[in-house]
Symmetry: D2
Subunit: 109 residues, 4 copies
């Protein structure tokens, strides 16, 4: 494919974060309940999954708007990592968010 | 635009059902909690939102696969309408699912 | 449903613009060919369709990030309206982009 | 994460096919033009990208409808692989479609 190395890294980080947030929210969080389905936390995970999916897609498409979307994506990933770190069993998801935040900050620069 | 009347009805029904399920799940259901965030119910609402979104998109694109996706969409909408009817405050969502089911069955035929 | 009047207007404008761009690109533009499938124009229409879809979804979800996404969405809609206005048979799509731009600017404010 | 080995393979195959079709259509096909932007071929690539994305997402969510969507996804991937094989520079995309077809057939069984 055509993506440059940095962009390919960011596509992979966004894809990984999308998958971690979607899967964790709809399996682990729903199963555990309690604070894991508290509205602000759960919605943040779904927001994060959705924006990461679009960030990957715009980069794959060669969109000139990808860096601006990556800047927003980085902020959402940051907030989601913080929210996940406060709850049990969310370590893998928090790490995926942090990795995506850093990769998106480089793409946005 | 280019869609035939029946297809335009189905695009509208799928769009309406997508919006009702997504909005109701991430606002009403998360706020109320309890049975509204029981895993099978909540996941069904997210499945229904996602498949309705793609059914609308394939019809807009003039895809030859749209009728087959509509057949699956109708079954998911049926199940989601039944699940919504058992819970408080879900009448509008249940009606959107039923309307989408009927419209998708016509497109799938 | 729960959206305030201004937000409901913006959800509708984003949905309409998403549908107009997706349908016009994958039916009219592909059929006409030539400048209608020139990479920058065609990709812009697909970018616009995708960002409008996510802007509508984040608003439906009650996401606190919706205003920031709407700001980016408005800029892409503006560029897409300009690009559509230079080509034949794109009047309806250009109008949907302009309406979405204005509605998203209000939400972003 | 929680997916079983076969399902994880299918999620990966769907993700890879989604990315290959989206990226190839919106970069290579638009750049080359001619038969690469012929409506039936181009729309098939976009259909394939979209259905693979949803197939991966439903599997990540633990959806009971994933096998039925995988059955449709396999058929679309098959058609897309055939269409790609007739055009220049589409080998990687054709291989991603074939791999996804086989993986989806196993999930659908």
């Amino acid at each position: 494919m055509d993506a440059l190395p940095d962009m390919q890294d960011c596509i992979d980080a966004c894809t990984n974060c999308h998958q971690a947030c979607l899967q964790t929210a709809l399996t682990h969080c729903l199963r555990v309940g309690g604070r894991h389905v508290e509205p602000d936390h759960f919605r943040l995970m779904m927001d994060c999954a959705a924006i990461c999916e679009l960030s990957a897609n715009l980069q794959l498409s060669g969109s000139p708007y990808a860096p601006r979307l990556c800047a927003l994506c980085a902020d959402i990933c940051h907030d989601c990592a913080v929210s996940c770190a406060e709850l049990d069993g969310m370590e893998e998801c928090a790490r995926a968010c942090e990795a995506c935040e850093h990769s998106c900050r480089r793409m946005a620069a």
